[in-house]
Point group: C2
Chain length 258, copies 2
């Protein structure tokens, strides 16, 4: 008999290099968080930017400078338990690593952001995720909407998209509004041009191709912060690679609000 | 014919010294926020302490260093539009002033916290506020529950209390959970000793005297932060005096979540 994996066993597999891919394919029932690592000097700007843009940047935890343990997963080490990390310097990606420990510094502050995995699980439970809302062409687009600036951080709001049957839009809006940790209610549903999305120029992933008979629904995305950090040419920061998240010990529905 | 006051006209009356008392007696329909002013050096600790203790410290706005205008009330000046401010140095109250401008510094960061006024309005609308829940003996008590520390800030959670008819407790819990900006769901309902409340030693206001046939209901209170700032002997900070808040331009129900 095969025992069901635990969050801890999934993190161990990641830590030991036995799972290197997307985390959404494992540990679906747990909330998955996206870690970001910035020097203390920039932590106030990141924290305030998150507070001012909560839909894009739902904070699950903020660690003390130098700390690598989180209440979200008491046995975890945020420096090793994510399948892949990106390291950025002066606006350029300089490395992809599976272990942040060799690069660790005592002044690094870890932010763990909520992710759209929580949203996807809520929509699945509501019965809409197995239809068109399961976007097989993940992508992130820049909008013409500004974020609220904080210190050195500013820039446009970036969004993700899912495609809904017209009769599903209302339930998608209602369900996602109860999941602030999963980016909450959509920013927009309908014509991409209304929020300035240029679908042929994604900042990540596929060009926008709205399936016939569906409505594109857009959510604020934490990529907004990464873009702002890059634009500000912060000397050094690290983050999880796309789709490679920290599997926490908390069930995703612990973040359901209402 | 007397015109109904606007939020702006109430703030003007406060600014010009024509209203000096509690703000809950005027401008009830607007969300009222509690400003706190700390030097930039302590702003990260305060911001993180708020994020880590959101029930006690619901952030409505955080201004840039030196700024005195807020999106919550575009015409307002947070230095003059509160009836009374307290100034604290090294853990001691050194002054009460009606105008912060003579003490203003370019490095001061203003935090505007949600207040129990928003909670009171929600409960009133739900039909329970006109009964025993309207506590005529306001007070703040220390609990045995810890807050989550942040940098130099730590200490016990402080709470306010209202008294509910037993059949009202469920609706009070349900309604207040939809009002995170008003401190959200109660921390506890029932025996004060269960959360370590020593009712004869309030940190503010009246000793606890639970009316016959009622259940005491406790909410996290922003006094927790003031106590932590005083305990840390922060060299200088200022805050609104109890019950003297900033009347914003937003209706209280703009903060209803669900």
């Amino acid at each position: 008999m095969v025992e069901a994996p635990t969050a801890e066993s999934i993190r161990a597999a990641i830590r030991e290099g036995r799972h290197t891919g997307l985390t959404e394919t494992v540990g679906q029932e747990w909330a998955q968080g996206g870690p970001l690592f910035v020097p203390r000097e920039y932590a106030y700007d990141v924290l305030l930017y998150s507070v001012r843009n909560p839909a894009a940047l739902p904070l699950l935890d903020v660690l003390d400078p130098g700390a690598w343990t989180t209440e979200l997963a008491p046995g975890a080490d945020v420096r090793t338990d994510v399948p892949l990390y990106e390291v950025w310097a002066d606006g350029q990606k300089i490395a992809e690593v599976t272990d942040l420990r060799p690069l660790w510094r005592g002044d690094l502050v870890t932010f763990v952001m909520g992710t759209s995995h929580i949203l996807a699980m809520g929509l699945k439970e509501a019965g809409v995720a197995e239809t068109t809302v399961d976007n097989p062409r993940p992508a992130i687009y820049r909008t013409a909407l500004p974020t609220r600036a904080a210190g050195r951080l500013s820039g446009p709001l970036c969004v993700t998209v899912k495609f809904a049957r017209p009769d599903e839009v209302a339930i998608i809006q209602r369900v996602s509004a109860t999941l602030p940790a999963g980016h909450g209610a959509p920013v927009h549903a309908g014509d991409p041009a209304a929020i300035g999305v240029e679908g042929d120029a994604p900042v990540f992933g596929y060009p926008l191709d709205v399936p016939e008979g569906t409505v594109p629904v857009f959510w604020a995305c934490s990529y907004s912060l990464l873009a702002a950090l890059r634009a500000a040419k912060i000397p050094w920061f690290a983050c999880h690679a796309p789709g490679r998240m920290l599997v926490t010990d908390l069930p995703w529905h612990a973040y359901r609000n209402g």
